[in-house]
Symmetry: C2
Subunit: 127 residues, 2 copies
Amino acid sequence: MDGIVLLAHGARDAKWAEPFASIARQMRELAPQRPVTLAFLELMLPDLLTAAAQLAAAGCTRITVVPLFLGAGGHVREDVPRLVAQAARQLPAVHVTCTLAIGESEHVTRAIAAAALTLAGCDPTPR
Amino acid sequence: MDGIVLLAHGARDAKWAEPFASIARQMRELAPQRPVTLAFLELMLPDLLTAAAQLAAAGCTRITVVPLFLGAGGHVREDVPRLVAQAARQLPAVHVTCTLAIGESEHVTRAIAAAALTLAGCDPTPR
């Protein structure tokens, strides 16, 4: 079984995570066969190692980590790869990999550009 | 003229801002008549007050601030409204307003959910 960990930053404020929980919910609706779980880099739980271990315990032999970060700075380029490598070492029977961050997906930046124009009261011409 | 300020968090790493610059570029392509500028809460320049003053100096009489934040925590619920109110006081001839954060747009969370599945090698059924 293939599982997905959505890795977000985390914050002190519990309401911060709501959009990320909504993304996880929508993914489960779109792909009910794929276990999807949220994990956080800091300030919120579970962390990546715990979430990956839970998916492994539930029978996942492949785990894909998707970084839910728009900006591609130190977290995405240093902390995330380090944690993914640590999870892979800790779960030798599981194939743990990491994708690009969502901010590197043109589909995502295009959707945000269109949504920002709509929020600002300017409906973009569909292209 | 109506202008838009995209307000992002900011980071130490210059590469961090690339997805945000790409969003601004795509908005200018979709709506060339609307001046769009990026501003940052911390660690990067310009700040919101500077960006809003530049749009006002360029002739904007309305400025809409769109917070480019996924998580809706303290930054979105406290810092951003405070800065927007400050910009409105500083530019009394300009109508300065603020929209929901992009993470509160279902269009955005749906696009991220679909992109995350695609990144994880699982093409969701289109709905």
